[in-house]
């Protein structure tokens, strides 16, 4: 319990240990701590950034998907419109063709009818001449009476 030179010895030892700690112990340890702290902070920031990026990418995907969907819809609509137009055209063509065929057929029929009428008329004239000949009892010269016959036939 005496106060003696130990107090000086301990002061020297104290100064030495503090100096040693300050020089060789504290800086590397606190450096490692700070560096790790920075690393962790960077890692967290990177994770944050990544999640933001992911969100942005997801949004972009959604947008792209939406755009693609719209485009597809547009294409389908266009195709539908086109198809209906084509169908209309085809229908139109068919109708026109049909009408044309009908007109042609009518014309032919008319022609046939006229032809038949002409023949009929001719035959009727012949028959009429023959009949008249029989009635008159004499052969009507066909050639001589052809003008008459033709006139007759035209009147029928």
């Amino acid at each position: 319990m005496n106060i003696n030179a130990t107090i000086i010895g301990q002061s020297i030892a104290f100064a030495f240990f503090v100096w040693f700690c300050m020089k060789y112990v504290w800086p590397p340890l606190i450096g490692a701590l700070n560096e790790r702290q920075k690393k962790i902070a960077d890692g967290l920031a990177a994770a944050d950034r990544a999640s933001t990026d992911l969100e942005a990418a997801q949004n972009k995907v959604q947008e792209e998907l939406q755009a693609a969907r719209e485009q597809a819809k547009e294409i389908v609509d266009q195709a539908n419109r086109r198809a209906s137009v084509i169908a209309e055209e085809a229908k139109d063509d068919a109708r026109k063709e049909g009408e044309r065929l009908i007109v042609a057929a009518r014309a032919e029929i008319e022609q046939e009818v006229n032809q038949a009428r002409e023949q009929l008329r001719a035959q009727v004239a012949t028959i009429a001449v023959a009949g008249a000949g029989k009635i008159l009892g004499k052969q009507i010269d066909e050639a001589a009476n052809s003008e008459l016959v033709d006139q007759l036939a035209a009147e029928l």
Binding site: N4, A5, Q10, L29, L33
Partner: protein, 289 residues
């Protein structure tokens, strides 16, 4: 130095191994007379006392320096291979201490000073180690020393007031050094003379100077003394109770265990208090009023 009586036993355990000079004509413990002044190891409390100031407590110094080296070598070992990656178990333990000290320093000290944090770390760990020696059963090492012919062996350096006071006085001088360095001599005088009582009237101010000076000087001187004596007193009392418990025979075991468990708290707390007060004292001289 077998001590047969209870008080002899206690005195033996509380006596430091002292190396110093005894004057010529001194009567030694065994009755022999010294023909000339001799440097020797004291074999009784009276001899140690008569060696005066220029004697040294060999055991305190030895254990204190040994524990200091345990501290710096252990921490240096970890610091050398410190990695900012995943730390190992030992690095983890050391880092948690470093971080604890760093937090304590940052909480009370806001200036910039490269000394304070390592100083606080040294104080905390070194005092902790010194206090920790208290948990070694009181008879083991003194018993071994006696077998080896060494008369005294006090293994807890912080139960030696020389050790604790030298640390607190070192802190005190560091405090004065930074006080002058940061604020200059006039700043130091201003801090001592113009607070706590102050006035806007210059005449009153001058009258108050001696009062302030007295108050502040007393409180300034009280700082290192209380700092050193607090640590010494706590550890000395704890050691004394360990010694008393060791004297009561077989029933000492549960008592010893109980006191040791309680003492773990004291050991850590005293190291922490010493460190915190050091930080506070040093931050006080850095800050403006």
């Amino acid at each position: 130095m077998a001590a047969n009586t209870a008080s002899g036993y206690i005195q033996h355990h509380l006596q430091n191994l002292t190396y110093g000079q005894l004057p010529a004509g001194y009567e030694r413990y065994d009755g022999s007379m010294l023909s000339e002044a001799t440097w020797t190891i004291a074999h009784s409390a009276a001899e140690a006392k008569d060696m005066g100031f220029w004697a040294i407590h060999v055991d305190s110094m030895l254990w204190s320096v040994f524990l200091g080296f345990v501290f710096v070598l252990l921490f240096r070992f970890v610091a050398r291979r410190a990695t900012s990656g995943v730390p190992g178990g030992l690095q983890n333990a050391i880092e948690s201490i470093v971080e604890f000290v760093d937090t304590s320093v940052k909480e009370s000290f806001h200036g910039k000073n490269p000394v304070i944090a390592p100083l606080a770390l040294t104080i905390f760990v070194w005092i902790f180690f010194m206090n920790l020696m208290d948990l070694i059963p009181v008879d083991w090492i003194p018993g071994l020393a006696t077998l080896a012919g060494v008369p005294y062996m006090k293994i807890v350096p912080s139960t030696d007031p020389n050790i604790t006071m030298s640390m607190s006085i070192s802190v005190f001088f560091l405090m004065l050094f930074y006080w002058i360095k940061v604020k200059g001599l006039s700043g130091l005088f201003g801090d001592l003379a113009l607070h706590p009582f102050s006035s806007n009237n210059p005449a009153v101010k001058v009258i108050l100077i001696p009062v302030n000076l007295l108050l502040e000087t007393v409180s300034l001187i009280a700082k290192p003394i209380s700092l050193g004596l607090r640590l010494f007193g706590n550890l000395y009392a704890g050691e004394l109770i360990f010694i008393l418990i060791a004297m009561i025979g077989y029933f000492q075991l549960p008592l010893h265990f109980g006191w040791a468990v309680l003492h773990i708290l004291v050991i850590t707390l005293q190291a922490y208090i010493f460190m915190t007060l050091t930080i506070v004292y040093l931050s006080m001289v850095h800050e403006e009023h």
